[in-house]
């Protein structure tokens, strides 16, 4: 009851659309809403580009080259189109975009609840309540770092960090490190921590292997020019699988042609199978390591062959085709590891991320807690989501991928608002 009264005395705003989150996705949505002359507000729990500021490790650089850093109406204008942005540079880029697009951002405004209310939405924040006909969820895909159940069984005295906790190797105790997960995150951690002098073991399940450069160009160039990045969610065989794929083993750097398990092995990182559990201080790894590596090699080679075909069909002049060494797997990779006996002092869970929808009080989540949507059109009238992997296209999770998705969805939203207004007869479009 007190809560109700407290909310009643808070300021109340009414607008057509509430956009939740002022990262690249929310700002891109705002850009198109302005183009459609739709009244809206962008609510941001912290500052513009908050996750990029506060929830990334120090050495992280974008996995896409600068020439690809592009938002609606706005392009990278720096001097190093082939370089990769550090996180402070990404923050600066998005801040500049917020100024350029003159988005109506309200910072330090945390959304506490979104509810369906009288045929519209009621958005409760720490600084008042908004009523809106439509809501765009652009609050990010990586709010929560996943931790498998086995993380509860890490013996006391061994540090257990998520990918959000890890900033750099200086924060680690001396001694061995077990990294769980071999996507971009896990590989980058393993490489960095090994170079800082720690013994490193990496537990490897299914992963996506990709070279940074191929036939003289960045892999993103080929993915772009062959049209792969534009492949739509309705074109792929199994969209739910495509949406759950781990990020490819890339790093934003041209120091090496490929950062893969072989390169880690060369630096004496120990490669083991997927972590299946920890029992009495002993980690158990799957015996499937050889197969997950074979799958990743086959899939990488299939992609490279598709690129080769495209180059041949389009008679493009570039370096000759090449294939990378198959992933080397020990004859008998370790299946068991006594963590204390092997001087493991830290376990890092690089086991993916998921969005936080704890504030979303509209029944649109499936039994796995994922938002139900069709290409970003959420299963509730006037609700949209942006910035999730493979939302509408392969490029949806990239900064440059947001433009087409935001354009499509804000056009849909525009139609929704006009239809709705005409339907109710209250306001002419």
């Amino acid at each position: 009851m007190i809560n109700v009264i407290r909310q009643l005395i808070r300021p109340v705003g009414t607008t057509d659309v509430v956009v939740i989150g002022a990262g690249h996705a929310g700002l891109a949505a705002s850009y198109f809403l302005s183009k459609h002359a739709i009244e809206h507000v962008v609510l941001e729990r912290g500052e513009v580009a908050n996750s990029w500021r506060n929830e990334r490790w120090d050495s992280l650089k974008l996995l896409t080259p600068n020439w690809q850093s592009r938002l609606p109406g706005f392009e990278y204008a720096g001097e190093d189109p082939d370089g990769f942005m550090s996180m402070p540079e990404v923050v600066e880029f998005i801040e500049e975009y917020a100024k350029f697009s003159a988005s109506p951002v309200q910072t330090d405004t945390t959304v506490q609840s979104v509810q369906r209310h009288l045929g519209a939405y009621r958005v409760v924040t720490n600084r008042g309540v908004w009523h809106a006909k439509a809501v765009v969820i652009a609050s990010g895909a990586c709010n929560i770092a996943n931790k498998p159940r086995a993380s509860q069984d890490v013996p006391e005295g061994i540090a257990s960090l998520t990918a959000h906790d890890f900033r750099n190797a200086d924060q680690l105790e001396p001694g061995g490190v077990l990294i769980v997960g071999a996507s971009a995150t896990g590989l980058q951690f393993a490489d960095e921590i090994r170079k800082a002098g720690h013994e490193v073991t990496i537990a490897t399940g299914e992963h996506v292997r990709l070279p940074r450069t191929y036939r003289g160009h960045d892999i993103q160039f080929w993915m772009h020019i062959t049209g792969l990045l534009n492949e739509g969610y309705e074109e792929v065989d199994d969209v739910s699988r495509a949406r759950g794929l781990p990020s490819p083993q890339l790093v934003g750097s041209h120091d090496a042609q490929i950062l893969d398990l072989n390169r880690l092995s060369d630096n004496s990182v120990k490669i083991v199978g997927r972590l299946m559990g920890i029992s009495n201080g002993t980690a158990q790894f799957s015996g499937s390591l050889r197969n997950v590596c074979a799958l990743a090699d086959l899939k990488m080679n299939r992609l490279l062959a598709a690129i080769d075909d495209w180059i041949e069909n389009n008679a493009v002049l570039c370096d000759a085709p090449e294939r990378f060494e198959a992933t080397r797997v020990d004859d008998n990779p370790s299946l068991l590891m006594d963590l204390e006996g092997n001087d493991i002092r830290t376990v890092i869970w690089a086991t993916g991320f998921r969005p936080d929808y704890s504030w979303l009080d509209v029944p649109v989540l499936d039994r796995k807690g994922r938002i139900r949507h069709e290409g970003g059109v959420v299963d509730a009238p006037g609700m949209y989501v942006l910035g999730l992997p493979m939302l509408r296209r392969r490029k949806s999770s990239f900064i440059h991928g947001i433009e087409d998705d935001a354009r499509d969805l804000m056009a849909h939203l525009d139609h929704f608002i006009r239809e709705g207004s005409m339907g109710s007869g209250s306001r002419a479009a």
Partner: protein
């Protein structure tokens, strides 16, 4: 699809499998199966086991008939060799599971199979089961499966079939990953 596409028939009803996948995505409860076997000691190291009923799609199910299996140990173990060694059943299960997977994946990918043969090797140091050396495990040191596959597909596509089959195999998972085993005795 081009009009010259040959009809691929590996005898697997992929449409039914894909239909089941779709239906069970909508009704996850029906996907919960229970597999069963029962066994009886016959004397010596000879045991007879059988399978017939199982649970799935929300109700009790039955094989078309009861299947019976004898397990025993070879004569060099001073046994009467009335059936396969239990560990050999593991290899039989793995071969059956991976090969069924290969046929299904091939059908789904439009690859005609002509023959799929496998040999399986599983070294084991029996100092473990005999309790001679506590550092030696009871089970296999490793398992090697060697496939010979004749199919209308490239070497790489065949490798992909075998890899995908492992990825989706229950027996492969059971062998490569730990499982809690509860053995109880009813008085």
């Amino acid at each position: 699809m081009t009009d010259v596409t040959a009809i691929v028939d590996n005898g697997v009803n992929v449409e039914a499998l894909l239909g089941a996948r779709e239906a069970l995505t909508e009704a996850p409860e029906a996907a919960k199966f229970v597999w069963r076997a029962s066994s009886e000691w016959k004397g010596g190291t000879h045991t007879q086991s059988s399978v017939e009923g199982f649970f799935g799609l929300g109700e009790e199910q039955k094989h078309v008939k009861q299947f019976n299996y004898d397990s025993d140990h070879p004569e060099i173990f001073a046994s009467e060799d009335k059936g396969s060694t239990p560990v050999e059943f593991i290899l039989v299960g793995l071969a059956g599971c991976l090969t069924a997977g290969i046929a299904s994946v091939a059908q789904n990918r439009g690859i005609q199979l002509h023959s799929v043969k496998a040999t399986l090797d599983a070294p084991m140091d029996i100092q473990g089961i005999l309790g001679i050396d506590g550092d030696v495990r009871n089970g296999f040191d490793a398992i090697t499966v060697n496939y010979e596959i004749d199919a209308d597909a490239s070497e790489e596509d065949i490798a992909a079939l075998v890899a995908q089959s492992q990825k989706r195999s229950a027996v492969f998972d059971i062998i490569t990953n730990p499982t809690n085993v509860n053995v109880e005795v009813n008085k």
